[in-house]
Amino acid sequence: MSKSVSSNRVPLYILVLGLLTAGLFLTFYRHYVFDVPWLPDAKRQIWSIEAKIEFEALGQPVKLSLAVPDSQPGFERVSEHTASPGYGLAFVDEGAKRRAEWSVREASGRQTLYYQVDMLFDQENFDDMVADPPQIETVTYAGPEETAVTQLLQRARSRSADAFTMTRELIAEFNNESQLAQLLVQQKSRERRLVEMLNLAGIPARVVQTLYLEDGRRRQSLVSYLQVFSGEEYALFNPQTGQQGQLANQLLWEQNSGSLLDLVGGRDSRVSFSIIAQEVPASRIYQEKVAHLKNAMDFSIHSLPLEEQTMFKGILLIPVGVLVVVMMRILVGIRTSGTFMPVLIALAFIQTTLITGLVGFFLIVGIGLVIRSYLSRHNLLLVARISAVIISVIIIIAVFSILAYGLGLAEGLKVTFFPMIILSWTIERMSILWEEEGAKEVFAQGGGSLLVAVLAYLVMINPIIRHLMFNFIGLQLVFMALVLMCGNYTGYRLSELRRFKPLVQGN
């Protein structure tokens, strides 16, 4: 009478075997044929930076010129290429200035062009900050501007000893004498004014556009810095704070006081940057620096535009978290509230870091539970009540962010990374659990969820795991096979060994 579901397990085993074989084959193929290393190696780190240029073409001939970076202390350019169908392209070297120039006879509508450059990070070379200093250009001032400039320069000079201290003092003066500074930045930008004034004092300087390199960032923009020379040596200054020095992940994108983008025949232009760190074998870089690199990578996620790659860097990690949840539930028997809630919390932890994340989680869920217990007195319908909890969670997050910012805790701002809808459901479930089963069960399930989330987090931030998951797409199939195998496990869970302990005691 009972219709039985297929009990033949052979097709499943064949599927698992097939997935394992295919996955491992792809993985080993990439390792042996394309020389992708098993372990991440910091010395071979390449930063791939993609500039995405978008603009509205007006149906006329279009000429577009983008400043592009060159090798510099700390970074060596290994390759560059563009994606711009239909456009003519030329790289122009005007002395030290490098620009990519695109042109087309006619274009209309939204246009998107890509420029990508691979920069090899070189720690040893990083400290020799040497470049050709720019020409000193003298600007003449008149009226109140002249007074302001003279006054600021005099004070800065009296308190400084050389070009670099002079720059620092000048920026400090700019910050102190806000009225004078206000007057000067009315017509030109702060950076430009500072350069002019340094030139006036006989110090070569220019504005450079820098980019902070952080793995997996999208839609970044350039930050202006001052490059001040003392002979051939230079130093970078933050024009706002006067802080001196270049960060190890700071790339000089444009260093000739030119514009980032010149566009003729279009409007509403925008340049945004995506950044990704890659591990590439050193041998490959040195042997066949430019052309072949991309072909070798085409076999994988690396053939996508960088913006999508950075997205995949996170997505490809999810199977690791999912496998942790599957193992914890099927093999260990930990109860979690909401099946995959721990993975989402773990993803949030990656953004917030662990301690901040845990504190944020406890604060939000704790306060949420208090609010929820108050709401439950009001006899509300379920959907409305959960909606109220969602809004409460958003308010809690907003208040925390403001409080944290006010107290100078930048870490606190990261609570916005938490998945709010998921947290609201967690609060709702825990609250019901509290009412029905008591606080003990809430702590059991809440603790279980957090434990699994922390474990998933620890696995997902492991650099080796990150490296493997991103570089070997075949591992996805291996994970699929592992999950299928777990789904076929009929043995006891670890928790059941404890649960059924009374049945085998004393025998």
Partner: protein
Amino acid sequence: MNLLQYWRENTRYGRLATKGILGMNCRNIRYISRHNPRSLYPLVDDKLKTKNLAIEHGVNVPDLIGVIDSQHDVPKIARITDAVPGFCIKPAKGSGGKGILVIDRVVDGVYYKTNGQAISLPDIERHISNILAGLFSLGGKTDFAVVESLIKVDDAFLQFTHEGVPDLRVIVFRGFPVMSMMRLSCASSKGKANLHQGAVGVGISMDSGKAVRAVQSGRPVSHHPDTKQSLGDLVVPQWIAMLELACACYDMTGLGYLGVDLVLDKNRGPLLLELNARPGLSIQVANDAGLLPRLRRVETIKKPEKYPIVERVAYSRAHFAAQSQL
């Protein structure tokens, strides 16, 4: 070989396996997904459907007072329960005994729960609203409230219960009852009959209906914690009728691996309380016996559908008896 023997005798995992204890993963893969077609789940997940099906098949169930299926009808509760001394409100799609409200008596518009706690009509209406909104249902789906008349505990069980109604859980596999236990509510379970909430589970021998063993929160007990009655004296009256009722539930649903919850009403005899397509595993702890050997034995029966209920009950009584440890 020796290693295997060592594993069987000296590791907890091996000893559980040797005893034939059914684990959660094995239950889900080998029994539930293989013998319970998904399409039949609504029959047991919806108490009203179960009730109607039972009435169709001549299986006795507690009397239905009414159904409240919309927020607009919530105030009706006072009117439909006007004529009865006590009643019970259940979410139709609830699970694990969640959301069940038992009203023992009504005095001057004040409602009293079985533990004597007084609640007002708005409290009851709020409870029904929660049921309708899906607070207690699987997956939070919208639900409706079933109002039933109260069950009168049979005299044989009066000494073994605190507040709640004791019920009998029978696991029915391919139509054969394989294991059973009584669930007795007590003060520490707050009148609830669920083992994980602290109720006493009493394993029942399949041949006689006599108690085999009793546990509370995983530990063996010999007396009811509140009434101090020796649990060794517990015998389920009308045992054969109870087993036949359990078998009939398989015939009416077609679910191969089924948990049947029965009660014995003082006036009406055995009644079907609810069915469960994912019955729990604690029944093994209460019986100090594994389900697997019994399930495997039933699996060897070819064409189980050929056996009438009487023969199936006889088979189970002959093969699944156990010695009392009390």
